[in-house]
C-alpha cells in the first residue's frame, strides 16, 4: 500500500490520504486526514515533514486525538488520573484497573509548539508568576486553568524529591490554586554503601535495598488512592497483568528503536520515533491502542529494513540525541542538516526497559521508578548514554537544552566530558525553545558543523 519511504508535508499527506482511502486503507475511529488537526489550532503541523506510511499516519492521529479520548473516557464513566512528573510508573498501575485512564498533564509542554503559541497558555502561566525562566512545561498551568486541552483529572499525582525544580514548583503553584495533589517521594538514587544490600535495577543502575523499600511504600500509598478512585482492589494479579501489557509496549519499542537506529538506511524518521518513544511514558491515554500503534509502526519498519529502503542518505551522520525537544521541528532540522538519529535518551530511558516479572509487582515498579535516569546522578546518566552510544554506533552526541529546565544548566558539563573521554566523540550542546523559527539559522549552522565534523572524522 505504501510507495517508497518519503518525508512529506501536511498538504502532501492529505493528498496521499485520499489516495490511500480510495485504495482501501482502513483506520481506527480516531483516523482521518492529518490536515483536520490544523483546524483545531495545531498549526505547527503545517511546518513539519512526516513519514508517508499509514503506520505513521495512525501514530500521528493517535497522538493528536488524545483529548477526545480522555473526554470520551470520562463520558463513559471511567475515572481520569493525571500522573504528573511520572515517567512510566503510576500509569502502569492505573491501567491495571480497567475503569481508570491515566494521562500525562506534563505533555502540555508541547502545546505551545504544536499550536505555535496561539493558545495563550504561556501568558496564563506568566500571569501566575511562572515566567519564561521556567521550562515550557509551565504551559500545563494554563491548560489546567482553561480546561481546554484535557479534562480535569479525578486524581492528580506528582512525584517529588529527585525531580526537576521547575516542575515541582509549577505543581506546587497548581496545588496553591486549589488542585489537590497526591505527592509521592522519589529519593535521589545512590549507590549502596558498605554493609548495605544492593539491588541491581532494570537498566543496570544500582540502589540500596532500603531505597527500593521506601519507594515501594510510596507506591503502595499511591496504589491505595487508585483503589479508592476505582472502587476496587489493585491486587498483584491485576498489577502483573498491567506490567505485562506495559512490557509488551516496551518490547515493541525496543525492537523499533534498534532497527531505526542501526539499519543501514534510516527506516523511520526522528520525529515519528520521538513520538513513539513518548508513548512508553503514558500510553497516550489508551494502553491497548498504544500497543497496536507501535506494532503497526514496527511492522512498517521491519518491511523497510527487509527491503533495504529508508530515508536519508546512507552516509548521514549518526547522532545520539539527549533530552526531548520543545519544538518538534528540530527533529526535521537535524535530518535536513545531514544527520540521523542513532540513539536517544529523552529523559526516560528506564521507561523503555522491561519491568521485572520475577519479583512481586510493586517491588518491580519501585525498581523501575528508581531506575529513572533523572532520579540519580548525571554521572549515572552519562554512563547509560555511553553504553547506548556503543550499542547503536553513534558518531556524535547532541545535548539538547530545554530552556529554563533546572537540570539542563549543568548536565552538559557532566555528560559532555564523559562522552568525550569514554567514546572520543564530538558533543554539541544546543538549546531548543518551543518555537525555533527565530533561531533556526543558528541552530542549523551548529547542526551542520557537527555533521561536517563527523564526516571529516570518518575520512581521517
Amino acid at each position: 500500500m505504501t510507495v517508497g519511504p518519503r518525508q512529506i508535508s501536511l498538504e502532501q499527506w492529505d493528498r496521499e490520504y485520499a489516495r490511500l482511502r480510495t485504495a482501501g486503507m482502513t483506520e481506527p475511529v480516531y483516523g482521518g486526514p492529518l490536515g483536520r488537526h490544523v483546524a483545531d489550532g495545531d498549526t505547527r503541523l503545517l511546518k513539519l515533514r512526516y513519514d508517508n506510511s499509514p503506520a505513521a499516519l495512525r501514530l500521528w492521529n493517535f497522538l493528536l486525538s488524545e483529548e477526545d479520548r480522555l473526554r470520551a473516557a470520562r463520558a463513559s464513566g471511567r475515572k481520569l488520573v493525571g500522573a504528573m512528573k511520572d515517567l512510566g510508573t503510576v500509569p502502569v498501575m492505573a491501567y491495571s484497573l480497567d475503569n481508570l485512564v491515566a494521562f500525562y498533564p506534563d505533555g502540555a509542554w508541547w502545546i505551545p509548539c504544536v499550536m505555535e503559541l496561539n493558545t495563550g497558555l504561556l501568558q496564563i502561566a506568566d500571569s501566575l508568576g511562572i515566567d519564561e525562566s521556567f521550562c515550557p512545561v509551565r504551559a500545563m498551568l494554563g491548560a489546567f486553568v482553561t480546561e481546554a486541552h484535557f479534562p480535569l483529572p479525578d486524581l492528580l499525582t506528582c512525584s517529588v524529591g529527585a525531580t526537576c525544580d521547575d516542575f515541582s514548583a509549577i505543581a506546587q503553584r497548581l496545588n496553591g490554586l486549589g488542585h489537590a495533589i497526591l505527592w509521592w517521594e522519589i529519593p535521589h538514587r545512590r549507590q549502596a554503601e558498605p554493609g548495605e544490600q544492593a539491588v541491581t535495577l532494570p537498566g543496570g543502575f544500582e540502589a540500596p535495598r532500603s531505597q527500593v523499600e521506601f519507594v515501594k511504600s510510596e507506591l503502595l500509598r499511591v496504589g491505595g488512592a487508585l483503589e479508592e478512585l476505582a472502587g476496587r482492589p489493585l491486587g498483584d494479579g491485576a498489577l502483573a497483568a498491567g506490567i505485562a501489557k506495559a512490557n509488551h509496549a516496551r518490547k515493541l519499542l525496543d525492537r523499533l528503536r534498534y532497527l531505526a537506529f542501526t539499519a543501514p538506511l534510516c527506516p523511520m524518521p526522528a520525529l515519528e520515533m520521538l513520538i513513539a518513544e513518548m508513548f512508553a511514558v503514558h500510553f497516550c491515554s489508551d494502553q491497548d491502542e498504544t500497543i497496536l500503534v507501535l506494532a503497526d509502526l514496527l511492522a512498517e519498519v521491519e518491511r523497510r529494513v527487509a527491503a533495504g529502503v529508508g530515508h536519508l542518505s546512507a552516509d548521514a551522520a549518526r547522532i545520539f540525541w539527549v533530552n526531548p525537544v520543545a519544538d518538534l521541528q528540530a527533529m526535521n532540522l537535524l535530518e535536513d542538516c545531514g544527520g540521523r538519529i542513532c540513539g536517544t535518551e529523552y529523559l526516560f530511558a528506564h521507561a523503555l526497559d522491561p519491568i521485572p516479572t520475577a519479583i512481586p509487582p510493586m517491588e518491580a515498579l519501585a525498581q523501575m521508578a528508581l531506575a529513572d535516569p533523572m532520579v540519580g546522578s548525571s554521572l549515572d546518566r552519562a554512563a547509560r548514554i555511553v553504553g547506548d552510544i556503543r550499542r547503536f554506533g553513534a558518531e556524535a552526541v547532541i545535548v539538547s537544552r530545554i530552556p529554563g529546565a533546572s537540570h539542563c544548566a549543568l548536565e552538559g558539563e557532566i555528560i559532555g566530558p564523559i562522552v568525550r573521554e569514554e567514546c572520543g566523540l564530538p558533543v554539541l550542546e544546543v538549546e531548543v525553545p518551543s518555537i525555533t523559527d527565530a533561531t533556526q539559522a543558528t541552530l542549523c549552522t551548529r547542526l551542520e558543523a557537527l555533521v561536517e565534523t563527523v564526516k571529516d572524522r570518518r575520512e581521517r
Partner: protein, 305 residues
C-alpha cells in the same frame, strides 16, 4: 601535638551542625561570597548563582569534607561537579520533599545516620547519646544566621517601617539588602530567608533530648519550613505566625535567578499575604545592581510611609 579538628562545610539548613559537632568535627555553615574564576562550576545560564558560588567556595575552602543536600535540583546536580572536580570527600544528604508521612520522617533520620557514617569515615567518632545531647544543648554549637553577625547595627530608637525579608538563602554580599532597607527608613524585623530565622530549627525539647537525642534533632530540623517542601503549606503557616508576631508592614522578597522553588512563590505570596511585597531577583553579583536595588527599595518604603 593534637591533630586539628577537621572542618565540615555545608550550607543547607537541613544539615544539623550539632550532629557534625557530636562526631568531634567542626561544622561550618558556608555563606558564599562569589569569587572570580570558577574552580568547579562555571557561571552558565540557567545555573542558580547561589549553588554555583557554594560549590566553588566549598571546593576552595580546604575543608575536611563537604555536605550537599538534595533540597534543590541545582544543588543535587552541582554535587556531581564537586565529586568530579575535587578530591575533598563530599556527601549528598537526601532531604525528602514530602514531610507528612512517617516514611519521609524516617528517611530523613536514616539519612542523618548515613551522614554520621560518612563523618566517622572522615575521622569523626561515633557519638554516644550524651555526646549528641551535649552538642544540642551547647550554645556554641547553635547555627548562626547571616544576620547575627550584624545584629547590633541598625537604627534603634528612631521611627522605622518594620519590614520582613523573605526568600531563599542570601550570600554575604546580599547583606547590602539590610543596609538599603535601613537607610531608606525601614528596619528588618523578620529575616525569613534560608540564612535567617526561617532556616533555623525549632528549640530542642530537653525531655525529648534525654529520651532520644537523634530523633529530637531530626524532628526539629525536618520541621524547618521551606518553599521546596511538598506541599509547602507549613511555610505559609510559619509566615502567618511570624509576620503577625513582628508586625511587619511590608515584605522584601529575595530570590536568585534560576531558583525555581522561590521564584514560583512570589506571585502566590502576593496573592496570599495581604500586604505590599517587593520582589527582588539577584544574579549574585551584588555590586552590579546596587543602584537599581536602592531605587526600588526606597520607592517601596516611601510607598509604605
Amino acid at each position: 601535638m593534637m591533630e586539628p579538628i577537621r572542618t565540615i562545610v555545608y550550607t543547607c539548613p537541613y544539615v544539623p551542625a550539632e550532629w557534625i559537632a557530636a562526631h568531634g568535627l567542626q561544622p561550618r555553615r558556608l555563606i558564599p561570597l562569589p569569587t572570580e574564576g570558577a574552580s568547579v562550576a562555571p557561571r552558565v545560564e540557567g545555573l542558580c548563582p547561589y549553588a554555583c558560588a557554594f560549590v566553588n567556595d566549598a571546593a576552595s575552602e580546604g575543608a575536611g569534607g563537604i555536605v550537599v543536600t538534595t533540597l534543590c535540583d541545582q544543588m543535587r546536580r552541582a554535587y556531581d561537579l564537586l565529586v568530579r572536580g575535587i578530591d575533598t570527600p563530599a556527601f549528598l544528604l537526601n532531604v525528602p520533599k514530602t514531610w507528612q508521612t512517617v516514611a519521609a520522617q524516617r528517611l530523613y533520620q536514616d539519612e542523618l545516620k548515613r551522614l554520621g557514617r560518612f563523618l566517622v569515615r572522615l575521622g569523626g567518632r561515633t557519638p554516644t547519646h550524651d555526646d549528641l545531647a551535649k552538642a544540642m544543648t551547647d550554645v556554641g554549637c547553635a547555627v548562626h544566621t547571616i544576620r547575627s553577625i550584624r545584629e547590633d547595627s541598625g537604627v534603634h530608637g528612631t521611627p522605622y517601617i518594620p519590614i520582613a525579608v523573605v526568600g531563599g538563602p542570601l550570600m554575604q554580599r546580599d547583606l547590602v539588602l539590610f543596609d538599603l532597607i535601613e537607610e531608606s527608613g525601614g528596619r528588618v524585623v523578620l529575616d525569613a530567608t534560608e540564612t535567617g530565622l526561617r532556616g533555623q530549627p525549632r528549640a530542642f525539647d530537653r525531655r525529648r533530648i534525654a529520651e532520644d537525642p537523634l530523633i529530637e534533632l531530626a524532628d526539629a530540623y525536618f520541621g524547618i519550613p521551606d518553599a521546596s517542601r511538598r506541599p509547602n503549606s507549613e511555610l505559609y503557616a510559619w509566615l502567618r505566625k511570624e509576620l503577625a508576631r513582628t508586625s511587619a508592614k511590608g515584605i522584601v522578597f529575595h530570590h536568585y535567578l534560576w531558583c525555581d522553588a522561590w521564584r514560583a512563590e512570589l506571585a502566590r505570596l502576593k496573592e496570599w499575604v495581604g500586604m505590599p511585597v517587593l520582589g527582588i531577583d539577584s544574579d549574585g553579583n551584588g555590586e552590579t545592581n546596587i543602584a537599581r536595588l536602592r531605587t526600588r527599595i526606597r520607592a517601596f518604603l516611601e510607598m509604605l510611609q
